[in-house]
């Protein structure tokens, strides 16, 4: 038996619905035969009648309703069709959910699932990575699982957290990642993972870019260059200690992110390393992100727009050469 990243998300939701009466899932076309745009809830409506609910096409209303339910003690999971559309609900997420506990001391345990990141030919409105936006605002927890195991355990943890959680699941990983079985162990939220230990340079990254970074590390291995790859897992809270420890080992830092370059996660990691770990650096920290333009539709343009193994490798050489 094997389980994909997408199946792990479905299984996590099934487990949550099974184990906790307060959990319900709210989204567009998720109930009935359709099972959501990516089939992440397929079969769950039948299995858990009345707890997997279709919503009108209003992200604003979806999140607003979830916040109300959370205030009444429920643990709602909101499924966005695409992360890109969550911008329609920014007011509910940032201004209401994010601030609620701080204004009222009433927790707001909602989980918003964002099918994120690019796949070939998805264009500007179905490819974006929004973790940088949500991390900027206080009161939110932002998760970007990069493995089948993390997809499963982090979604379960997300629902257990009393704060609003933005759960960014990467669409490219839905079918491309497979594990032998669902995990029995987990790393806590807020802890980054050293996916591949190295000696010469640290690549700090998250989500699908972890796999690009691993491919690059494999490529450099033939030259005797050992890259360390750190998967942030949780963007907020950010595990600065693990990042600093990695930079202390290698002296060189390259941050890789699929999101746009201006500000964001890679910038935050570099700011922290430069502030708290300047003395660890042998070279100026570098980063590589998507290009600062809307995401192109054409597959060839798209694969050059986001960081890929080739552009990451070139950047690695640049940092190593300094």
């Amino acid at each position: 038996m094997s389980v994909t990243y997408l199946e792990a998300i479905r299984e996590a939701q099934a487990k949550l619905l099974r184990d906790d009466d307060r959990v319900f899932i709210y989204g567009q076309d998720i109930a009935g035969k359709f099972g959501g745009a990516f089939k992440a809830t397929k079969g769950l409506a039948e299995q858990f009648p009345g707890r997997v609910l279709n919503t009108p096409i209003s992200e604003d209303a979806m999140v607003g309703t979830a916040i109300g339910a959370a205030m009444e003690g429920m643990r709602p999971i909101v499924e966005m069709q695409f992360a890109d559309f969550s911008s329609v609900a920014l007011n509910q997420i940032l201004n209401n959910a994010g601030t609620q506990y701080w204004r009222t001391q009433t927790p707001c345990p909602i989980t918003v699932r964002l099918p994120s990141g690019g796949t070939k030919g998805s264009g500007p409105f179905h490819s974006q990575s929004m973790e940088g936006i949500y991390s900027h605002y206080p009161g939110l927890v932002v998760l970007t699982p990069a493995t089948v195991e993390d997809a499963y355990t982090m979604l379960i943890d997300a629902v257990a957290i009393d704060d609003p959680v933005i759960y960014c699941e990467h669409k490219y990983l839905y079918y491309h990642l497979k594990a032998d079985a669902l995990p029995t162990e987990k790393l806590p939220i807020g802890k980054a993972r050293v996916v591949r230990p190295g000696r010469d340079l640290s690549i700090v990254t998250n989500s699908a870019m972890v796999h690009e970074a691993l491919a690059v590390a494999q490529q450099f291995r033939a030259e005797g260059i050992e890259l360390e790859v750190v998967d942030l897992r949780s963007v907020k809270p950010l595990d600065t200690a693990t990042v600093l420890a990695s930079v202390a080992r290698t002296g060189r830092l390259l941050c890789v992110g699929e999101a746009f370059p201006w500000g964001g996660v890679t910038a935050e990691v570099i700011a922290r390393v430069a502030t708290e770990g300047f003395h660890l650096l042998d070279a100026a920290p570098a980063r590589i992100n998507a290009k600062d333009t809307p995401i192109p539709y054409h597959p060839n343009l798209w694969s050059e727009h986001r960081p890929n193994a080739k552009t990451i490798a070139a950047k690695v050489r640049q940092v190593l050469a300094e």
């Binding site: 003395h279 650096l281 042998d282 050469a321």
Partner: protein
């Protein structure tokens, strides 16, 4: 300001030969500039009329700075079109926060005058990608690509050095294995591991002080010149005097008098200014236990040799007893080292870090000198005098003139 030589970064205007309204032909020399190497002419790119001269005589301008404008025919103007700066459309610079600050990076305020100049970045020398001389356009001046070469220490290496109180001089024994010969953290740790277990002791405070002063001084380009001096007149003169000054005191007095005549020789170069002292205060290197102390004799040009001798004796005594106070060792403009007392004939002593000059005196010894009049060798007592100097402030010629004058003065010691 055109690039008039490969290493030229900026130049100073010596003369402006035209004024607005003057007609000029193509390649006419209109401005004369001086670089660190030569005086050269700036020529017009094309024929026309001088519209405006922005540069001022004695002003220093970076390569690429706009010195003035030539009103040219439309055909000529079109030829240079691609080099003209791109102006932001409309009021973009005003509307976009920070935009004005961004463009301000190319503006440098000049010393004193308060004027500033704009750099036209499009006029900076264009360099092919991958060329050895990459141009860093972030600042005003071209920066060679190899800036982070052998001398570069990464923040990590610096932090480790700070932790261990190491200076760059301490790393001299490490052949760096990093990029461009850089010393890497591994090189440093390996080096430290290698000296681990070797016999070591904590140096005395005076040793540490000398080490620090010499390290600082060595950051400058130092050079030494030397001459022979005949000691016989000094030895004869000395016999007549009471108290009896040593040869080093004659040399000190001669140095002071020579500096009174050539005060620029002791000037210190700091940030583009040559700084001169108001009084001629000369230090004397005295060997104390485990180090050197350099007490200073004030106004040595205005103090008789007799008074110098008694002051010198006093200071040496204080130095050997370690009783010198801070004001007795500071403010000298040059010093003298009598390394002859160690039986040495020649040396290249290092000036103190805050001084430009150091006069050294070697051991006297009997040598045969050719006497033209008698056609025979005659014995004479000779010593070598050396003058070490900061080559930024002084050249071989200047140092040589000062040293020759000192030797000249020493030939007539009765007048000292």
């Amino acid at each position: 300001m055109p690039q008039l030589g490969e290493s030229m970064a900026e130049a100073t205007i010596v003369a402006i030969k035209v004024q607005p309204g003057d007609k000029v032909s193509a390649d006419q020399e209109i401005i004369e500039v001086e670089t660190d190497k030569a005086v050269m002419g700036v020529t017009t790119p094309c024929a026309g009329e001088i519209a405006k001269i922005d540069a001022e005589v004695k002003g220093t301008y970076a390569v690429g700075a706009v010195l003035g404008y030539v009103e040219a025919s439309e055909a000529d103007a079109a030829r240079f079109q691609k080099r003209a700066p791109q102006l932001p459309k409309g009021d973009v610079a005003k509307e976009v926060p920070g935009r004005e600050e961004e463009s301000a990076t190319a503006v440098r305020t000049q010393n004193g005058s308060g004027s500033h100049f704009q750099v036209d970045e499009t006029a900076l020398p264009q360099v092919a990608a991958g060329s050895h001389f990459q141009v860093d356009k972030a600042g005003v001046l071209p920066v060679p690509a190899g800036t982070k070469g052998a001398g570069y220490l990464s923040p990590r290496v610096r932090a480790r050095m700070a932790e261990l109180q190491l200076t760059q001089a301490d790393l001299a024994g490490i052949a760096g294995s990093g990029n461009a010969g850089r010393v890497t953290i591994k090189d440093l740790e390996k080096f430290l591991g290698g000296i681990e277990g070797q016999p070591a002791e904590k140096p005395s405070a005076i040793r540490t002080g000398v080490a620090d002063a010499m390290r600082r001084s060595w950051t400058r380009p130092l050079a030494t010149v030397g001459l022979s001096v005949c000691l016989d007149p000094i030895l004869q003169d000395r016999a007549k005097r009471d108290p009896k000054p040593g040869p080093a005191l004659y040399a000190l007095r001669a140095l002071a008098l020579a500096l009174a005549e050539q005060p620029n020789a002791a000037a210190r170069l700091i940030g583009g200014r040559a700084i001169r002292s108001e009084s001629i205060d000369i230090g004397v290197a005295v060997e104390a236990q485990d180090g050197i102390m350099v007490p200073v004799i004030r106004n040595a040009d205005k103090t008789s040799l007799a008074d110098l001798t008694s002051r010198y004796t006093e200071l040496v005594d204080l130095a050997r007893r370690r009783r010198l106070t801070g004001d007795m060792t500071s403010g000298g403009i040059a010093s003298i080292s009598n390394f002859g007392t160690f039986g040495l004939e020649w040396g290249t002593p290092i000036p103190l870090p805050d001084q430009t000059l150091l006069l050294g005196l070697g051991m006297g010894k009997k040598v045969p000198a050719w006497d033209e009049g008698n056609g025979a060798f005659v014995p004479r007592t000779e010593a070598q005098v050396t003058l070490s100097f900061d080559h930024r402030s002084l050249d071989g010629g200047g140092a040589g003139r000062l040293l020759k004058r000192i030797v000249e003065l020493l030939a007539d010691p009765a007048k000292l």
